[in-house]
């Protein structure tokens, strides 16, 4: 009788177990969570979702109002400033909400449980923000106008040069770069159980400063645009942009089984 066959089958079973353990190890979930902890975590997740959605709804409303304000030749300074202030407050509210949730999680979980959760978050983090319209910073008035838009507006070569220079802003690039850097730093801070609260708060402030400056840059660009173009040219440009980029519909995350209400 061939004695090598059972050996091979054993080897096969061992190999299968190895592959299974690697695969399940890669997707392991934090264990040893008590029912009380689970309830508290559910409540944190529920509140996080609800509050985030409320703030995002407000952000979307304010963004659309800002877009409408920018479509008018006669810029309503007060309206623009008020809307920017609303957007800025909502941005800060989102940052603070995340910070508060981080504190809460550390009160519910032990260090080892939190570390496992943090590992899960890193594993499932993906490579981009979820639930966003792409591209992130390219609203209809944030993009440099292309040839078709410029031709529709009937601008001269000199005007076109000035407009394109206006959009090629090193300050904006620098701000986005800083924003990304601080965000990365904050995320890495949030992955540690011993959260340095002072550093986290300082990073939140820095991120929010960048956000506000980006908003102000967009307002300044709108003002400059009106100093380069005539009213007729501006309106033609606006109509061409509106034709190509219709007013956005508010985005909503599709409902999930865990959602209530």
């Amino acid at each position: 009788m061939n004695t090598a066959a059972p050996k091979k089958i054993k080897l096969l079973i061992l190999l299968g177990c190895l592959v299974f353990s690697v695969a399940t190890g890669a997707t392991a979930e934090p264990g040893n969570i008590t029912p009380t902890q689970r309830e508290k975590l559910k409540s944190v997740a529920f509140n996080m979702r609800q509050k985030t959605q409320r703030i995002r709804d407000e952000l979307i409303k304010a963004r659309i109002e800002l877009l409408r304000a920018y479509q008018s030749w006669d810029l309503d300074e007060r309206k623009v400033k008020d809307t920017i202030s609303r957007i800025s407050k909502a941005q800060l509210a989102l940052l603070n909400l995340h910070l508060e949730n981080q504190f809460e999680l550390r009160c519910i979980l032990s260090a080892s449980q939190f570390d496992e959760l943090a590992r899960q978050v890193v594993r499932q983090g993906g490579r981009g923000p979820r639930g966003f319209h792409h591209p992130h910073e390219e609203g209809p008035w944030d993009m440099p106008p292309d040839r078709m838009v410029l031709e529709a507006a009937g601008v001269s070569a000199e005007q076109a040069r000035k407009i394109l220079r206006l959009y090629d802003s090193p300050r904006k690039r620098e701000l986005i770069e800083r924003l990304r850097r601080y965000t990365g730093q904050l995320i890495s801070l949030y992955s540690k159980f011993d959260l340095d609260r002072a550093t986290a708060r300082s990073l939140v402030e820095k991120i929010h400063d960048c956000q506000l400056e980006l908003l102000n840059l967009s307002r300044e660009r709108q003002e400059a645009l009106r100093s380069i173009l005539t009213r007729d040219q501006f309106e033609k440009m606006r109509d061409e942009i509106a034709r190509r980029f219709p007013m956005p519909k508010p985005w909503r995350r599709p409902p999930r089984p865990g959602d209530r209400g």
Binding site: N2, L12, V19, E29, L94, V121, G125, T183
Partner: protein, 140 residues
């Protein structure tokens, strides 16, 4: 000449009336074409391309065929072990390439230029992190 269009054919016909040399050449060409058409068509005894295609046709990969070629239990076990190992490595690689990407806060540069933004990345830079966190808590 039969293929030439109206004015072109007329020019050729007029020329042929006056040029004996060209008329003789045309007559010779027409006689040659008539002789050629009388020759029977010969089919090749063996289509070389069909043979080449048959020899170079890729073999279909079938697991049952692959396993079926083995004669002994020993070889079968070896092959099964190899198949499991390959599937396992592929699954782990796929997992690490597609799912196991750490969120560094560095967002990919968007390439499409025709989407309208209502809430921008800069409005909620930690949004992606928050959503993943909530999902992970849901799974706990």
């Amino acid at each position: 000449m039969g293929r030439a269009s109206g004015p072109e054919a007329r020019v050729i016909r007029d020329h042929l009336k006056t040029c004996k040399k060209c008329e003789a050449l045309l007559r010779e060409e027409m006689a040659f074409a008539a002789r050629l058409s009388a020759v029977p068509m010969v089919e090749p005894a063996n289509d070389v391309w069909a043979l080449v295609r048959a020899k170079t046709k890729p073999r279909r990969l079938s697991i049952s065929a692959w396993l079926g070629r083995t004669r002994s239990v020993d070889a079968l076990a070896k092959r099964l072990a190899a198949a499991v190992a390959v599937i396992g490595v592929a699954a782990v690689t796929l997992y690490s390439v597609t799912l196991n990407q750490p969120d560094t806060g560095q967002e990919p540069v968007a390439t499409s230029g025709n989407s309208v933004v209502s809430v921008k990345w800069s409005d909620d830079p930690l949004g992606g992190h928050r959503e993943v966190l909530v999902e992970c808590i849901d799974k706990m």
